[in-house]
């Protein structure tokens, strides 16, 4: 229900931010190479995209969209996995080009038939022919078509071929394609775009000189994935409009996965989506996590059970305890009163978020330029630190304040100006005073500047005095005096003002950057179970297997299985025993020995009551159990049959050396 709306909205947000980015960027690029098209070589753009392969799809899609809108209708996107040979490549290329032609110009049926006929004998000549007919047609039909001005400028719009993942194409295919198309470049204005994940050098290592000389390569660098991430965090987390928030641990997990595992923005978004799903699924009060307008309605329509749920929230309990006793009783018994209070609290929470964001940005302005970045370079690090606990209690904050007290004036002034901008742009109306205050600071700084001129005169004159005196004693004395005066002068207006500014910022931080879990009803908006997230996104199947085999008690809560330390009891499931025994062996395992060892263990469990008469039958069962356990291990990939010796199996895990 609610969940899906949110998801869609947020996905859309992301896409828009992506597109906006790529738009502006590629627009520049495309205009750049329009001038190059006329050269004799095949104009080629090499797009260095970075290692986050999974995000490339989006980039390319937006790129082709932009191109289609602005420059040419003829675009083909090629992927390595579709093109194992030159034939497939041509086929794919023709198909895409002609289909897209069909799409754009919406041809009649007879033409479509013709196109599909063409597809059968795919060759460069047929492609050229097709292109000629198409351009002729468009020429004649141009007035009726709505084309952007840029494409009307050219007589013939170029055909753009995009190789999505250049590294994984076979070199042969690429070379052939380039050589062939270079011969047709006269008739067919072809433009290639290579998507590159590693480094631009790859072009030269993939293509020999004779081929690469046919290309006229222009290099473009796309934005790094980190920047993408920070924009997304900016847009999603650091806004007051989006009601759902991430807890500190969760955010940390997501960022860690991003930084240490895949650098993929898409995966980050996926994790974020998962968080939302989990939150709405597991937290019954998450219905209140929505836009303020809806929230009011929903609070009013809360059922009794839901009110009880609110009362159970730890943060709400804390709030209740801090109230006077009559109010406590009212809160705990009267649903209506509770609803009122809840509304108020939710509003508080919203206001808190608004303030939080702008103060956070402001603090970021201050800390991000300090040497050694005690509070982190990126705003997300600062955000994490603030969420974790009271930021002003940390050492890093202390040291960064100290450093801030040593800033020079021009930096300070620019920072203050930035802060003013932030506060002005923020919607919260509490900041009027803050803005005034900051502006006051600024004017004072300007005054100081004026005064500084006079001061300089004074100091110059004193130095002149100094030069007059040549007596050593006097010199010493004056120097001492100077020193003293300087010490006191250090705390003159500028210093004082600077301290004031820093203290003011400090007070802002203390007021507004209270960690979210100190706030009442934060559970509604914050998602905090990081372990669930980690389990679903960054699972460790090997460890799960390992623990299950080594320590079955973890899963099967039976006292008989409880064991001390690493050893397992002999009552463990068969597969655990067999596994344990196989750990003892080297590369090859003799099945007979294994079976014997297994039966020793199992017999010991069945113990003395298994008398000799029935031993034959029992043996059969043990044998069968052993067979089952061994074949299960084989299925799990711990062993495989070996031909090197009869009745032996080979170990496959690392221990088998």
């Amino acid at each position: 229900q609610q969940v899906q709306e949110d998801l869609n909205k947020q996905l859309f947000d992301n896409l828009v931010s992506f597109l906006r980015r790529s738009h502006s960027e590629f627009q520049e690029k495309t205009t750049e190479w329009t001038c190059r098209v006329k050269s004799r070589e095949i104009p080629t753009a090499a797009l260095v995209l970075g290692v986050n392969v999974t995000d490339h799809d989006l980039t390319f899609r937006s790129l082709s969209e932009v191109l289609q809108n602005n420059i040419t209708p003829y675009i083909a996107l090629l992927e390595a996995k579709d093109c194992p040979g030159i034939k497939n490549l041509m086929q794919k290329l023709m198909g895409q080009l002609m289909n897209c032609y069909v799409d754009v110009d919406s041809l009649e049926d007879e033409d479509y038939v013709q196109v599909s006929q063409n597809r059968i004998r795919c060759s460069m000549t047929s492609l050229t022919n097709w292109y000629e007919t198409v351009t002729k047609k468009t020429d004649s039909e141009t007035p009726s078509k709505k084309r952007t001005s840029s494409s009307r400028d050219w007589q013939s719009p170029p055909v753009v071929v995009i190789f999505k993942d250049m590294e994984s194409f076979t070199t042969k295919v690429l070379q052939d394609f380039i050589v062939i198309s270079s011969q047709h470049i006269r008739e067919l204005p072809l433009v290639l775009i290579f998507g590159i994940a590693t480094s631009p050098m790859i072009i030269h290592s993939l293509l020999p000189h004779s081929v690469s000389s046919l290309l006229c390569i222009e290099l473009f660098q796309s934005l790094s994935c980190k920047e993408h991430l920070s924009t997304i965090i900016d847009k999603l987390l650091l806004t007051a409009q989006f009601p759902f928030k991430l807890g500190e641990k969760v955010l940390q997990v997501l960022i860690n996965i991003f930084l240490y595992h895949d650098l993929s923005v898409q995966n980050f978004i996926k994790g974020f989506q998962l968080c939302i799903v989990e939150h709405f699924y597991s937290q019954p009060l998450s219905v209140l996590c929505c836009q303020p307008v809806d929230a009011k309605k929903r609070v009013n329509s809360l059922s009794h059970d839901q009110c009880e749920n609110i009362r159970k929230l730890p943060s709400f309990r804390r709030y209740v305890e801090s109230q006077v006793s009559e109010k406590q009783i009212a809160l705990l018994t009267a649903d209506n009163f509770l609803k009122e209070i809840t509304q108020k609290l939710l509003e508080d929470l919203r206001v808190y978020h608004e303030n939080y964001v702008s103060v956070l940005r402001c603090l970021h302005v201050f800390t991000s330029s300090l040497p050694k970045y005690p509070l982190g370079k990126q705003i997300r690090e600062l955000h994490c630190a603030c969420l974790e606990n009271r930021v002003w209690e940390t050492e890093e904050y202390e040291s960064s304040l100290q450093l801030a007290r040593m800033l020079n004036k021009s930096d300070l002034v620019t920072m203050l100006q930035q802060c003013v901008e932030i506060f002005v742009s923020s919607s919260g109306n509490e900041f009027d005073k803050t803005v005034e205050k900051l502006k006051e600071f600024l004017t004072q700084f300007q005054k100081l500047e004026a005064e500084a001129f006079q001061e300089r005169d004074v100091s110059v004159s004193s130095q002149k005095e100094l030069q007059k005196k040549t007596d050593l004693y006097h010199l010493q004395k004056t120097l001492l005096e100077l020193k003293e005066s300087r010490r006191s002068k250090k705390l003159t207006k500028f210093e004082m003002l600077r301290f004031e500014v820093v203290d003011y910022i400090d007070s802002l931080v203390r007021n507004y950057l209270v960690p979210a879990d100190h706030k009442t009803l934060h559970e509604i908006a914050y998602f905090n179970t990081a372990s669930v997230l980690r389990g679903h996104l960054n699972a460790a199947p090997r460890i799960a297997l390992h623990t299950a085999l080594n320590n079955p008690y973890c899963y099967l809560k039976n006292q008989a299985l409880k064991s001390d330390g690493g050893r397992i009891s002999n009552k463990a499931p068969d597969i655990c025993i067999v596994y344990k025994l196989h750990l003892e062996c080297g590369r090859l395992i003799n099945l007979v020995d294994w079976l014997e060892a297994f039966s020793t263990v199992v017999m010991a469990v069945e113990g003395p009551n298994a008398d000799a008469a029935s031993s034959d039958q029992v043996d059969d069962i043990i044998h069968a159990r052993f067979i089952r356990a061994v074949s299960e291990l084989e299925l799990l990939g711990f062993i495989k049959p070996s031909k090197r010796k009869t009745d032996h199996v080979a170990r496959l895990t690392w221990g088998g050396c």
């Binding site: 899906q4 392969v53 999974t54 895949d262 699924y281 679903h536 996104l537 960054n538 460790a540 090997r542 460890i543 623990t547 299950a548 080594n550 320590n551 099967l556 039976n558 299985l561 330390g565 690493g566 050893r567 009891s569 499931p573 597969i575 025993i577 025994l581 003892e584 062996c585 080297g586 590369r587 395992i589 003799n590 099945l591 007979v592 020995d593 294994w594 079976l595 014997e596 297994f598 263990v601 010991a604 469990v605 043996d619 059969d620 044998h623 069968a624 067979i627 061994v630 074949s631 084989e634 299925l635 799990l636 990939g637 049959p641 090197r644 009869t646 009745d647 895990t653 690392w654 221990g655």
Partner: protein, 574 residues
């Protein structure tokens, strides 16, 4: 490693300094190079001391305590291994020192004998010792760290294993020492030395030699902790290559055939296992119920565009089946039994196009087919399909291309994929691109239920191959042939059976075969023989192979027992 433990063993170390001097000349006398260093706090050293120096009883008692302490320490060091998800990767499959297979029997005996109560009470004695020597604790903590590293890699209790080299060094210990060590390993707490010896000699038997090795020390390391670590790393590397360079594998030569037990075939195996009660049924049921409570969540997440993959020990087939019957009853779904040995991506795609999309016709390649499916699903948004794949990591599906196709399929918004994996290396199938296509959510579903269906197709090592299929096909084909042809095949089969004990039997060379056939009046020219052989080959009855000398060798690719059966049957017929 926690603080008190470190201190406790610190006490151990200090007390030990005088003994080391003693040890030095003992070691010389015994001809065993035991280096004098502080890390050698292990039990074997003490054993030497005790044996040759006649230490008074109470001291022996103390040593015993320490010994137990070391044991307890070993166990503590392993604790993190058992702590569920906190296991670090390195511990999971660390290098292990090569061991003989006799160790296995030994461990089995161990598991059978000691329920592990001997160690627990000794913890209480540690605190007394901590008071004694706090000064050495700091330095010892460092060492302890290294120690624990070593101990962690050895997953057995204090029967720690030793590097290969050291074992060689200790290859010829004197019997007296052995019995002594056996005593210490068994960890009984008796004080009287004489008694101990007796007990140990009674207990020892075949276990003894290995025990000595087990309790001996790791390779000498007497520098700083850091250096020890490096040492350890390089040692591991060396050990690895040492173990892999020698192609000789030390295992016993016993084979199943010498065992008086007959081999079981698939059917009897199945029957027996059905009779055998399933251990811990109640707990397994509880686990399953836990997993089943997640069904509605799975549905939600599937609908939101995620796909679900299940991992963990135990068959997940029943769980998925239950999911299917309880939730997917009314929707279109496709169950793929990945463990089935002849499943292919093509068959999966075919069943989608034919059963789900009602499309009749063939496709040139799986890629075309995939494209068609994608197009259809995109056109018709009301079309929904649940795909359940048991064992996505099975032999047939784990290939790069099939995974690629499945991933593309699963990335469709209206196809919901839920799959299970079992192989330990299954996640290696997927690269970043595929992972993002699959859009997995991982769920740990350890069920501990036996892989009944999954392993029934596995050609298990221990299950007798009935070969009934091969046999019937043989007889069928041969029945349709002429008498002479049958004779020719018989000759070849007999020859192969005569040579069945020769492991390097290349097959019967064509010339010899021709000669034999002529003698038996079966053919009159080598052309007819060749024509006959071509027919055999077309029916896959024989295989030809060119030897090193260019001669053609003929071979029947059927195992010996089937061939014998076949010949017997033929004899009956004739």
């Amino acid at each position: 490693m926690s603080q008190p433990e470190g201190k406790g063993s610190g006490a151990l170390e200090v007390k030990f300094v005088p003994d080391e001097e003693v040890l030095k000349h003992i070691a010389d006398g015994a001809g065993i190079k035991v280096r004098k260093d502080k890390t050698q706090l292990t039990v074997s050293v003490k054993r030497f001391v005790k044996k040759l120096e006649n230490i008074s009883d109470d001291e022996a008692q103390e040593i015993l305590e320490e010994k137990n302490y070391v044991a307890a320490l070993g166990i503590c060091a392993q604790d993190p291994v058992g702590n569920g998800s906190s296991v670090s990767g390195g511990e999971v499959y660390s290098f292990q020192t090569p061991k003989r297979s006799s160790k296995m029997a030994e461990l089995a005996a161990e598991l059978a004998q000691t329920p592990g109560q001997s160690v627990a009470p000794d913890h209480s004695e540690c605190p007394e010792k901590t008071a004694k020597t706090p000064q050495s604790s700091n330095m010892f903590l460092l060492l302890m760290h290294v120690f624990s590293l070593q101990l962690q890699s050895k997953k057995k209790e204090y029967v720690a294993t030793t590097p290969y080299r050291l074992r060689k060094r200790l290859a010829a210990p004197d019997p007296y020492l052995e019995s002594e060590s056996e005593y210490s390993a068994s960890c009984s707490e008796e004080e009287d030395e004489e008694d101990q010896k007796e007990v140990s000699t009674v207990l020892s038997g075949r276990k003894t030699p290995a025990k000595t090795k087990a309790l001996s020390t790791p390779p000498p390391r007497n520098t700083l902790a850091k250096k020890i670590k490096e040492d350890k790393m390089s040692n591991l590397v060396e050990e690895y290559f040492e173990a892999h360079s020698s192609s000789k594998v030390l295992t016993s030569d016993r084979t199943l055939q010498k065992l008086r037990k007959r081999r079981l075939n698939q059917q009897t195996l199945h029957d027996i296992l059905k009779k055998a009660p399933l251990a811990y049924a109640a707990e397994i049921k509880e686990l399953n119920q836990q997993h089943e409570s997640l069904f509605s969540k799975w549905m939600l997440q599937l609908h939101l565009g995620f796909n679900i993959v299940l991992y963990g020990l135990g068959s997940k087939r029943d769980l998925l089946e239950k999911f299917r019957t309880s939730v997917l009853q009314d929707s279109v779904h496709l169950v793929v039994n990945g463990y089935f040995p002849s499943i292919t991506v093509r068959s999966i795609l075919n069943s989608i196009t034919e059963e789900v999309l009602d499309h009749i016709g063939t496709f040139r390649s799986p890629l075309d087919q995939l494209e068609f499916i994608i197009k259809r699903f995109k056109e018709d948004s009301s079309l929904e399909l649940y795909v359940l794949i048991h064992n996505l990591d099975s032999q047939m599906l784990r290939g790069e291309r099939s995974q690629q196709i499945l991933a593309q399929l699963s990335s469709l918004p209206s196809i919901y994929l839920i799959a299970s994996i079992d192989h330990i290396n299954a996640p290696l199938m997927w690269d970043q691109a595929k992972l993002s296509l699959y859009n997995w959510l991982w769920y740990e579903t350890t069920t501990f239920s036996p892989y009944v269906e999954e392993t029934s197709y596995e050609n298990s090592l221990l299950v007798q191959q009935s070969g009934s299929l091969a046999l019937s096909s043989l007889t069928h084909v041969l029945r349709s042939l002429t008498l002479n042809a049958r004779g020719i095949f018989r000759l070849l089969a007999q020859y192969q059976l005569e040579n069945k004990d020769n492991p390097s039997y290349p097959g019967l060379s064509f010339q010899d075969f021709y000669q034999q056939c002529r003698e038996a009046f079966l053919v009159n020219s080598d052309l007819t023989l060749r024509a006959q052989l071509t027919e055999f080959r077309d029916h896959k009855l024989i295989r030809t192979k060119r030897g090193a000398d260019g001669v053609e060798y003929l071979l029947i690719p059927v195992d010996d027992s089937t061939l014998t059966d076949f010949l017997e049957k033929e004899d009956e017929d004739v």
